[in-house]
Amino acid sequence: MSESPARNPKLAWREVDGEIVIISPEDSQVHELNETASLVWKYADGIRSCDEIAVELAAEFDVALEAARADAAELIAALEEKRLLLVAAPVEG
Protein backbone atom coordinates (compact mmCIF):
# COMPACT_ATOMS: atom_id res chain seq x y z
CA MET A 1 0.00 0.00 0.00
CA SER A 2 3.02 2.30 -0.23
CA GLU A 3 2.66 3.05 -3.94
CA SER A 4 1.23 6.38 -5.06
CA PRO A 5 -1.33 5.98 -7.82
CA ALA A 6 -1.60 8.80 -10.36
CA ARG A 7 -4.20 9.62 -12.98
CA ASN A 8 -3.07 8.64 -16.47
CA PRO A 9 -2.24 12.05 -18.04
CA LYS A 10 -3.27 10.86 -21.50
CA LEU A 11 -6.93 10.72 -20.50
CA ALA A 12 -9.62 13.37 -20.84
CA TRP A 13 -11.99 13.66 -17.89
CA ARG A 14 -14.45 15.79 -15.99
CA GLU A 15 -16.35 15.62 -12.74
CA VAL A 16 -20.12 16.10 -12.78
CA ASP A 17 -22.05 15.97 -9.51
CA GLY A 18 -19.17 14.27 -7.72
CA GLU A 19 -18.79 11.53 -10.32
CA ILE A 20 -16.03 11.23 -12.86
CA VAL A 21 -16.38 10.46 -16.56
CA ILE A 22 -13.20 9.60 -18.44
CA ILE A 23 -12.60 9.26 -22.14
CA SER A 24 -9.53 7.73 -23.69
CA PRO A 25 -8.22 9.47 -26.82
CA GLU A 26 -6.57 6.23 -27.91
CA ASP A 27 -9.72 4.18 -28.34
CA SER A 28 -12.60 6.58 -27.50
CA GLN A 29 -13.53 4.29 -24.63
CA VAL A 30 -15.74 5.99 -22.04
CA HIS A 31 -15.35 5.08 -18.37
CA GLU A 32 -17.97 6.15 -15.88
CA LEU A 33 -16.83 5.95 -12.28
CA ASN A 34 -19.18 5.51 -9.34
CA GLU A 35 -19.00 7.71 -6.28
CA THR A 36 -16.33 5.66 -4.50
CA ALA A 37 -14.16 5.15 -7.56
CA SER A 38 -14.52 8.86 -8.30
CA LEU A 39 -13.12 9.71 -4.89
CA VAL A 40 -10.19 7.35 -5.44
CA TRP A 41 -9.62 9.07 -8.80
CA LYS A 42 -9.62 12.50 -7.21
CA TYR A 43 -7.18 11.50 -4.48
CA ALA A 44 -4.91 9.67 -6.93
CA ASP A 45 -2.61 12.64 -7.38
CA GLY A 46 0.67 10.73 -7.57
CA ILE A 47 1.54 11.99 -4.09
CA ARG A 48 -0.89 10.26 -1.75
CA SER A 49 -0.12 6.61 -1.13
CA CYS A 50 -2.77 3.91 -1.38
CA ASP A 51 -2.88 3.90 2.40
CA GLU A 52 -3.50 7.62 2.54
CA ILE A 53 -6.27 7.27 -0.04
CA ALA A 54 -7.83 4.58 2.15
CA VAL A 55 -7.74 6.98 5.11
CA GLU A 56 -9.57 9.59 3.01
CA LEU A 57 -12.21 7.03 2.00
CA ALA A 58 -12.68 5.88 5.59
CA ALA A 59 -13.30 9.46 6.67
CA GLU A 60 -15.55 10.29 3.75
CA PHE A 61 -17.79 7.25 4.12
CA ASP A 62 -17.40 6.82 7.87
CA VAL A 63 -16.23 3.20 7.62
CA ALA A 64 -13.51 1.25 9.39
CA LEU A 65 -10.03 1.81 8.04
CA GLU A 66 -9.50 -1.87 7.27
CA ALA A 67 -12.64 -1.99 5.14
CA ALA A 68 -11.60 1.23 3.37
CA ARG A 69 -8.12 -0.25 2.71
CA ALA A 70 -9.66 -3.33 1.11
CA ASP A 71 -12.00 -1.23 -1.04
CA ALA A 72 -9.25 1.19 -2.04
CA ALA A 73 -6.89 -1.63 -2.99
CA GLU A 74 -9.57 -3.30 -5.08
CA LEU A 75 -10.56 -0.08 -6.85
CA ILE A 76 -7.00 1.03 -7.49
CA ALA A 77 -6.16 -2.37 -8.95
CA ALA A 78 -9.22 -2.23 -11.20
CA LEU A 79 -8.44 1.30 -12.39
CA GLU A 80 -4.80 0.37 -12.93
CA GLU A 81 -5.79 -2.65 -14.96
CA LYS A 82 -7.76 -0.37 -17.30
CA ARG A 83 -4.72 1.96 -17.48
CA LEU A 84 -6.75 4.77 -15.94
CA LEU A 85 -4.38 4.99 -12.99
CA LEU A 86 -0.65 4.54 -13.11
CA VAL A 87 0.84 3.17 -9.93
CA ALA A 88 4.45 3.89 -9.04
CA ALA A 89 6.54 3.85 -5.92
CA PRO A 90 6.43 7.22 -4.09
CA VAL A 91 9.17 9.74 -4.82
CA GLU A 92 11.66 9.89 -1.99
CA GLY A 93 12.43 13.12 -0.17
Binding site: K10, L11, A12, W13, R14, V16, D17, V21, I23, P25, E26, S28, V30, E32
Partner: protein, 383 residues
Protein backbone atom coordinates in the same frame (compact mmCIF):
# COMPACT_ATOMS: atom_id res chain seq x y z
CA UNK B 1 -23.26 8.21 -21.79
CA UNK B 2 -26.94 9.10 -21.82
CA UNK B 3 -26.91 9.66 -18.07
CA UNK B 4 -24.14 12.24 -18.43
CA UNK B 5 -25.83 13.98 -21.31
CA UNK B 6 -29.03 14.18 -19.28
CA UNK B 7 -27.15 15.65 -16.33
CA UNK B 8 -25.37 18.23 -18.44
CA UNK B 9 -28.62 19.25 -20.14
CA UNK B 10 -30.50 19.48 -16.85
CA UNK B 11 -27.74 21.46 -15.20
CA UNK B 12 -26.85 23.46 -18.31
CA UNK B 13 -23.23 22.43 -18.23
CA UNK B 14 -21.34 23.45 -21.39
CA UNK B 15 -20.29 19.86 -22.10
CA UNK B 16 -19.40 20.43 -25.79
CA UNK B 17 -17.72 23.59 -27.00
CA UNK B 18 -16.79 24.37 -30.58
CA UNK B 19 -14.04 26.98 -30.63
CA UNK B 20 -12.93 28.50 -33.92
CA UNK B 21 -9.30 29.60 -33.59
CA UNK B 22 -9.27 31.60 -36.81
CA UNK B 23 -11.42 32.43 -39.80
CA UNK B 24 -8.35 32.68 -42.03
CA UNK B 25 -8.14 29.87 -44.51
CA UNK B 26 -5.91 28.55 -47.28
CA UNK B 27 -8.88 27.31 -49.26
CA UNK B 28 -11.70 29.38 -50.70
CA UNK B 29 -14.57 26.93 -50.64
CA UNK B 30 -17.44 28.22 -52.71
CA UNK B 31 -20.05 27.38 -50.06
CA UNK B 32 -18.16 28.76 -47.06
CA UNK B 33 -20.10 31.14 -44.82
CA UNK B 34 -17.03 32.77 -43.26
CA UNK B 35 -15.28 36.08 -43.88
CA UNK B 36 -11.61 35.06 -44.04
CA UNK B 37 -10.17 38.43 -43.06
CA UNK B 38 -8.54 38.62 -39.65
CA UNK B 39 -10.28 41.32 -37.61
CA UNK B 40 -8.29 40.63 -34.46
CA UNK B 41 -8.31 37.01 -33.39
CA UNK B 42 -7.93 36.16 -29.74
CA UNK B 43 -4.28 35.81 -28.75
CA UNK B 44 -2.85 32.63 -27.31
CA UNK B 45 -3.08 34.12 -23.81
CA UNK B 46 -6.71 35.09 -24.34
CA UNK B 47 -7.60 31.63 -25.62
CA UNK B 48 -5.81 29.97 -22.73
CA UNK B 49 -7.87 32.13 -20.39
CA UNK B 50 -11.05 31.01 -22.13
CA UNK B 51 -10.00 27.35 -21.97
CA UNK B 52 -9.36 27.69 -18.25
CA UNK B 53 -12.85 29.10 -17.78
CA UNK B 54 -14.38 26.34 -19.89
CA UNK B 55 -12.63 23.67 -17.86
CA UNK B 56 -13.96 25.24 -14.67
CA UNK B 57 -17.45 25.38 -16.18
CA UNK B 58 -17.34 21.65 -16.93
CA UNK B 59 -16.59 21.43 -20.65
CA UNK B 60 -15.23 18.01 -21.63
CA UNK B 61 -15.53 17.88 -25.43
CA UNK B 62 -13.58 20.63 -27.17
CA UNK B 63 -13.63 20.94 -30.96
CA UNK B 64 -11.02 23.27 -32.42
CA UNK B 65 -11.87 24.49 -35.87
CA UNK B 66 -11.76 27.46 -38.23
CA UNK B 67 -10.97 28.70 -40.87
CA UNK B 68 -7.91 26.56 -41.11
CA UNK B 69 -6.48 25.84 -37.68
CA UNK B 70 -2.97 25.13 -38.95
CA UNK B 71 -2.67 28.79 -39.93
CA UNK B 72 -2.40 29.50 -36.19
CA UNK B 73 1.30 29.38 -35.37
CA UNK B 74 0.42 28.66 -31.74
CA UNK B 75 -1.89 25.72 -32.52
CA UNK B 76 0.19 23.07 -30.80
CA UNK B 77 0.73 25.21 -27.71
CA UNK B 78 -3.03 25.70 -27.48
CA UNK B 79 -3.76 22.00 -27.90
CA UNK B 80 -1.12 21.15 -25.30
CA UNK B 81 -2.69 23.64 -22.91
CA UNK B 82 -6.15 22.19 -23.53
CA UNK B 83 -4.90 18.68 -22.90
CA UNK B 84 -3.28 19.76 -19.64
CA UNK B 85 -6.75 20.91 -18.62
CA UNK B 86 -8.01 17.39 -19.45
CA UNK B 87 -10.23 18.34 -22.40
CA UNK B 88 -11.16 15.73 -24.96
CA UNK B 89 -9.82 17.50 -28.05
CA UNK B 90 -10.94 17.01 -31.64
CA UNK B 91 -9.95 19.18 -34.58
CA UNK B 92 -11.42 20.09 -37.94
CA UNK B 93 -9.03 20.95 -40.75
CA UNK B 94 -8.58 20.77 -44.49
CA UNK B 95 -5.20 19.18 -43.65
CA UNK B 96 -3.37 20.90 -46.50
CA UNK B 97 -0.58 21.89 -44.11
CA UNK B 98 -0.35 18.54 -42.33
CA UNK B 99 3.00 16.82 -42.68
CA UNK B 100 4.53 13.89 -40.80
CA UNK B 101 5.76 16.07 -37.97
CA UNK B 102 2.41 17.78 -37.47
CA UNK B 103 0.60 14.44 -37.56
CA UNK B 104 3.02 13.08 -35.00
CA UNK B 105 2.48 16.06 -32.71
CA UNK B 106 -1.30 15.74 -32.88
CA UNK B 107 -0.98 12.12 -31.83
CA UNK B 108 1.54 12.91 -29.13
CA UNK B 109 -0.75 15.57 -27.66
CA UNK B 110 -3.64 13.12 -27.42
CA UNK B 111 -6.00 14.64 -29.97
CA UNK B 112 -8.84 12.14 -30.25
CA UNK B 113 -10.30 12.95 -33.65
CA UNK B 114 -9.45 14.79 -36.85
CA UNK B 115 -12.26 15.72 -39.23
CA UNK B 116 -11.34 16.61 -42.80
CA UNK B 117 -13.65 17.94 -45.51
CA UNK B 118 -13.63 15.94 -48.73
CA UNK B 119 -16.12 17.00 -51.38
CA UNK B 120 -15.58 14.31 -53.97
CA UNK B 121 -13.27 11.48 -54.89
CA UNK B 122 -12.82 13.28 -58.20
CA UNK B 123 -10.07 15.94 -57.95
CA UNK B 124 -11.76 18.09 -60.57
CA UNK B 125 -14.90 18.32 -58.45
CA UNK B 126 -13.17 18.68 -55.08
CA UNK B 127 -10.60 21.24 -56.26
CA UNK B 128 -13.28 23.29 -58.02
CA UNK B 129 -15.08 23.63 -54.69
CA UNK B 130 -11.98 24.48 -52.62
CA UNK B 131 -10.55 26.63 -55.43
CA UNK B 132 -7.13 25.14 -54.69
CA UNK B 133 -5.66 22.96 -57.39
CA UNK B 134 -4.24 19.75 -55.98
CA UNK B 135 -6.13 20.12 -52.71
CA UNK B 136 -7.81 16.71 -52.87
CA UNK B 137 -4.49 14.96 -53.36
CA UNK B 138 -2.96 16.91 -50.46
CA UNK B 139 -5.89 16.27 -48.12
CA UNK B 140 -5.89 12.56 -48.92
CA UNK B 141 -2.13 12.34 -48.42
CA UNK B 142 -2.60 14.01 -45.04
CA UNK B 143 -5.34 11.56 -44.08
CA UNK B 144 -2.91 8.73 -44.68
CA UNK B 145 -0.22 10.47 -42.62
CA UNK B 146 -2.66 10.98 -39.76
CA UNK B 147 -3.82 7.38 -39.98
CA UNK B 148 -0.19 6.31 -39.98
CA UNK B 149 0.13 7.94 -36.58
CA UNK B 150 -2.90 6.03 -35.34
CA UNK B 151 -5.18 9.06 -35.23
CA UNK B 152 -8.93 8.69 -35.70
CA UNK B 153 -9.80 10.51 -38.93
CA UNK B 154 -13.29 11.26 -40.18
CA UNK B 155 -14.37 12.65 -43.54
CA UNK B 156 -17.04 15.33 -43.69
CA UNK B 157 -18.70 15.86 -47.05
CA UNK B 158 -21.00 18.84 -47.41
CA UNK B 159 -23.20 18.24 -50.43
CA UNK B 160 -24.18 21.06 -52.78
CA UNK B 161 -25.13 21.49 -56.41
CA UNK B 162 -21.52 21.01 -57.52
CA UNK B 163 -21.02 17.62 -55.86
CA UNK B 164 -24.41 16.10 -55.16
CA UNK B 165 -23.63 12.96 -57.11
CA UNK B 166 -20.26 12.61 -55.42
CA UNK B 167 -21.44 11.05 -52.21
CA UNK B 168 -21.08 7.49 -53.42
CA UNK B 169 -17.49 8.18 -54.42
CA UNK B 170 -16.81 9.71 -51.01
CA UNK B 171 -18.40 6.71 -49.37
CA UNK B 172 -16.16 4.38 -51.40
CA UNK B 173 -13.14 6.49 -50.51
CA UNK B 174 -13.99 6.33 -46.83
CA UNK B 175 -14.40 2.58 -47.05
CA UNK B 176 -11.08 2.24 -48.83
CA UNK B 177 -9.43 4.32 -46.13
CA UNK B 178 -11.46 2.48 -43.46
CA UNK B 179 -12.63 5.70 -41.84
CA UNK B 180 -16.07 7.05 -40.92
CA UNK B 181 -17.73 9.80 -42.92
CA UNK B 182 -20.53 12.32 -42.59
CA UNK B 183 -22.69 13.62 -45.43
CA UNK B 184 -24.17 17.03 -44.81
CA UNK B 185 -26.83 18.84 -46.83
CA UNK B 186 -26.59 22.04 -44.84
CA UNK B 187 -25.59 25.19 -46.69
CA UNK B 188 -26.12 28.35 -44.65
CA UNK B 189 -26.08 32.05 -45.53
CA UNK B 190 -22.80 33.89 -45.00
CA UNK B 191 -22.10 35.39 -41.59
CA UNK B 192 -22.84 38.86 -42.91
CA UNK B 193 -26.32 37.69 -43.90
CA UNK B 194 -25.53 37.36 -47.62
CA UNK B 195 -27.78 34.56 -48.80
CA UNK B 196 -26.18 34.32 -52.24
CA UNK B 197 -24.47 31.01 -51.48
CA UNK B 198 -27.85 29.41 -50.86
CA UNK B 199 -28.00 29.08 -54.64
CA UNK B 200 -25.49 26.23 -54.15
CA UNK B 201 -28.03 24.34 -52.13
CA UNK B 202 -29.65 21.49 -53.96
CA UNK B 203 -33.36 21.94 -54.63
CA UNK B 204 -35.21 19.67 -52.27
CA UNK B 205 -36.65 17.55 -55.07
CA UNK B 206 -33.13 16.71 -56.28
CA UNK B 207 -32.38 15.22 -52.90
CA UNK B 208 -35.03 12.55 -53.09
CA UNK B 209 -32.74 9.82 -54.42
CA UNK B 210 -30.24 10.57 -51.67
CA UNK B 211 -32.84 10.55 -48.94
CA UNK B 212 -33.94 7.17 -50.24
CA UNK B 213 -30.44 5.82 -50.08
CA UNK B 214 -30.01 3.88 -46.83
CA UNK B 215 -26.49 5.20 -46.46
CA UNK B 216 -27.84 8.71 -45.97
CA UNK B 217 -28.77 8.93 -42.36
CA UNK B 218 -26.67 10.26 -39.53
CA UNK B 219 -26.79 6.85 -37.91
CA UNK B 220 -25.51 4.89 -40.87
CA UNK B 221 -23.18 7.49 -42.33
CA UNK B 222 -21.51 8.64 -39.18
CA UNK B 223 -20.19 5.23 -38.47
CA UNK B 224 -17.92 6.26 -35.68
CA UNK B 225 -19.50 4.70 -32.63
CA UNK B 226 -17.48 6.88 -30.32
CA UNK B 227 -19.29 9.75 -28.64
CA UNK B 228 -18.00 12.88 -30.26
CA UNK B 229 -19.27 16.39 -30.77
CA UNK B 230 -20.07 16.72 -34.45
CA UNK B 231 -22.70 18.01 -36.76
CA UNK B 232 -24.05 15.84 -39.48
CA UNK B 233 -26.97 14.84 -41.60
CA UNK B 234 -29.27 17.54 -42.80
CA UNK B 235 -28.89 20.06 -40.05
CA UNK B 236 -29.59 17.53 -37.38
CA UNK B 237 -31.59 18.33 -34.30
CA UNK B 238 -28.82 16.87 -32.21
CA UNK B 239 -25.98 19.21 -32.84
CA UNK B 240 -23.81 17.54 -30.26
CA UNK B 241 -23.83 14.39 -32.35
CA UNK B 242 -24.68 12.47 -29.21
CA UNK B 243 -28.04 10.75 -29.29
CA UNK B 244 -30.02 11.05 -26.09
CA UNK B 245 -33.57 11.27 -24.80
CA UNK B 246 -32.35 14.27 -22.84
CA UNK B 247 -32.99 16.28 -26.00
CA UNK B 248 -36.56 15.03 -26.43
CA UNK B 249 -38.42 18.29 -25.80
CA UNK B 250 -35.67 20.72 -26.73
CA UNK B 251 -34.72 21.53 -30.32
CA UNK B 252 -31.08 20.51 -29.91
CA UNK B 253 -28.13 20.77 -27.58
CA UNK B 254 -27.41 24.42 -28.44
CA UNK B 255 -27.38 26.51 -25.28
CA UNK B 256 -28.29 23.48 -23.18
CA UNK B 257 -24.98 21.66 -23.06
CA UNK B 258 -23.10 23.04 -26.04
CA UNK B 259 -22.05 26.33 -27.53
CA UNK B 260 -19.78 28.00 -30.05
CA UNK B 261 -17.04 30.60 -29.57
CA UNK B 262 -15.67 32.62 -32.48
CA UNK B 263 -12.00 33.64 -32.97
CA UNK B 264 -13.01 37.10 -31.72
CA UNK B 265 -14.48 35.77 -28.49
CA UNK B 266 -18.14 35.99 -29.40
CA UNK B 267 -20.24 33.29 -27.77
CA UNK B 268 -23.19 31.76 -29.60
CA UNK B 269 -25.44 28.83 -28.66
CA UNK B 270 -24.21 27.09 -31.83
CA UNK B 271 -22.02 27.81 -34.84
CA UNK B 272 -25.23 27.64 -36.86
CA UNK B 273 -27.23 29.95 -34.61
CA UNK B 274 -26.54 33.66 -35.09
CA UNK B 275 -27.72 34.73 -31.67
CA UNK B 276 -24.96 36.78 -30.03
CA UNK B 277 -24.96 36.13 -26.30
CA UNK B 278 -21.78 37.89 -25.17
CA UNK B 279 -18.04 38.12 -25.66
CA UNK B 280 -15.40 36.46 -23.50
CA UNK B 281 -13.10 39.42 -23.98
CA UNK B 282 -15.52 41.54 -21.99
CA UNK B 283 -17.22 39.08 -19.65
CA UNK B 284 -16.44 35.79 -17.99
CA UNK B 285 -17.70 32.77 -19.89
CA UNK B 286 -19.88 31.57 -17.03
CA UNK B 287 -21.55 34.96 -16.83
CA UNK B 288 -22.53 34.66 -20.49
CA UNK B 289 -23.40 30.98 -20.34
CA UNK B 290 -25.61 31.13 -17.28
CA UNK B 291 -26.93 34.67 -17.31
CA UNK B 292 -27.16 35.99 -20.85
CA UNK B 293 -30.75 36.85 -21.69
CA UNK B 294 -30.26 35.55 -25.21
CA UNK B 295 -28.82 32.24 -24.03
CA UNK B 296 -31.74 31.84 -21.65
CA UNK B 297 -34.18 32.73 -24.43
CA UNK B 298 -32.74 29.91 -26.57
CA UNK B 299 -32.86 27.57 -23.58
CA UNK B 300 -36.53 28.28 -22.95
CA UNK B 301 -37.65 26.94 -26.33
CA UNK B 302 -39.56 23.67 -26.13
CA UNK B 303 -40.45 21.50 -29.08
CA UNK B 304 -43.92 20.92 -27.68
CA UNK B 305 -44.58 24.66 -27.66
CA UNK B 306 -43.36 25.62 -31.12
CA UNK B 307 -46.15 27.73 -32.60
CA UNK B 308 -46.38 25.90 -35.92
CA UNK B 309 -44.16 22.84 -35.79
CA UNK B 310 -45.60 21.36 -32.59
CA UNK B 311 -48.80 20.50 -34.46
CA UNK B 312 -47.04 19.16 -37.55
CA UNK B 313 -48.10 15.63 -38.46
CA UNK B 314 -44.76 14.83 -40.07
CA UNK B 315 -42.63 16.21 -37.26
CA UNK B 316 -40.97 12.81 -36.83
CA UNK B 317 -39.46 13.19 -40.30
CA UNK B 318 -38.20 16.72 -39.74
CA UNK B 319 -34.71 17.84 -38.75
CA UNK B 320 -35.68 21.40 -38.04
CA UNK B 321 -32.71 23.41 -36.81
CA UNK B 322 -33.49 26.48 -34.66
CA UNK B 323 -30.41 28.27 -35.98
CA UNK B 324 -31.49 27.80 -39.57
CA UNK B 325 -35.02 28.80 -38.54
CA UNK B 326 -33.52 32.07 -37.29
CA UNK B 327 -31.36 32.57 -40.37
CA UNK B 328 -33.97 31.61 -42.92
CA UNK B 329 -37.21 32.65 -41.28
CA UNK B 330 -36.07 35.17 -38.68
CA UNK B 331 -37.55 33.19 -35.79
CA UNK B 332 -35.81 30.59 -33.62
CA UNK B 333 -39.17 29.01 -32.87
CA UNK B 334 -40.55 29.29 -36.35
CA UNK B 335 -41.01 26.91 -39.24
CA UNK B 336 -38.97 27.44 -42.38
CA UNK B 337 -39.39 26.33 -45.92
CA UNK B 338 -36.30 24.18 -46.32
CA UNK B 339 -37.02 22.02 -43.28
CA UNK B 340 -40.63 21.57 -44.38
CA UNK B 341 -39.62 20.54 -47.89
CA UNK B 342 -37.11 18.02 -46.60
CA UNK B 343 -39.55 16.67 -44.02
CA UNK B 344 -42.16 16.14 -46.72
CA UNK B 345 -39.64 14.33 -48.87
CA UNK B 346 -38.49 12.14 -46.04
CA UNK B 347 -42.04 11.36 -45.04
CA UNK B 348 -42.74 10.36 -48.66
CA UNK B 349 -39.73 8.08 -48.63
CA UNK B 350 -40.97 6.58 -45.37
CA UNK B 351 -44.32 5.80 -47.01
CA UNK B 352 -46.48 8.59 -45.60
CA UNK B 353 -49.34 9.29 -48.00
CA UNK B 354 -49.31 12.88 -49.30
CA UNK B 355 -47.34 14.38 -46.42
CA UNK B 356 -47.89 18.08 -45.80
CA UNK B 357 -46.02 20.08 -43.16
CA UNK B 358 -47.91 22.26 -40.70
CA UNK B 359 -46.42 25.36 -42.32
CA UNK B 360 -47.78 24.33 -45.69
CA UNK B 361 -51.16 23.46 -44.18
CA UNK B 362 -51.23 26.91 -42.60
CA UNK B 363 -50.34 28.54 -45.90
CA UNK B 364 -52.94 26.46 -47.70
CA UNK B 365 -50.28 24.72 -49.72
CA UNK B 366 -50.03 21.02 -50.29
CA UNK B 367 -46.71 19.29 -50.47
CA UNK B 368 -44.95 19.47 -53.79
CA UNK B 369 -46.26 16.28 -55.30
CA UNK B 370 -43.50 13.79 -55.59
CA UNK B 371 -43.62 10.25 -56.69
CA UNK B 372 -40.91 8.25 -55.05
CA UNK B 373 -38.62 6.94 -57.75
CA UNK B 374 -36.60 3.76 -57.40
CA UNK B 375 -33.21 3.76 -55.74
CA UNK B 376 -29.94 4.42 -57.51
CA UNK B 377 -31.26 6.91 -60.01
CA UNK B 378 -28.04 8.89 -60.23
CA UNK B 379 -26.47 8.30 -63.61
CA UNK B 380 -23.08 9.51 -62.32
CA UNK B 381 -23.31 8.08 -58.84
CA UNK B 382 -19.70 7.02 -58.91
CA UNK B 383 -18.40 10.59 -59.20
Amino acid sequence: MDRWIRRTVERHLPWNVHLDLTYRCNERCIHCYLDHEDYGEMTMLEIEGVLKQLAEAGTLFLTLSGGEIFLRQDLFELIAYARRLHFDVSVKTNALLVDVEKARRLKELGVRGVQISIYSADPEVHDAITKVRGSLARSLAAIRLLQGQGLHVKIACPLMTHNLAAYRGVQALAEELRIPYILDLTITPKMDGDAGILSLRNPARDLLPILQDPIFSPKSCDRDDAPQPATGGTGSSSSSGLESHAYDDIPCSAGHNSCYISPYGDVFPCVQMPVATGNVRRERFEEIWFHSNEMNRVRAIRESQLPICSSCTIRAHCERCPGLAQMEGGDLSGAYERACELAELKASVAGVENPVSALHVKNGRGAASCKVPPLNVFPQASA
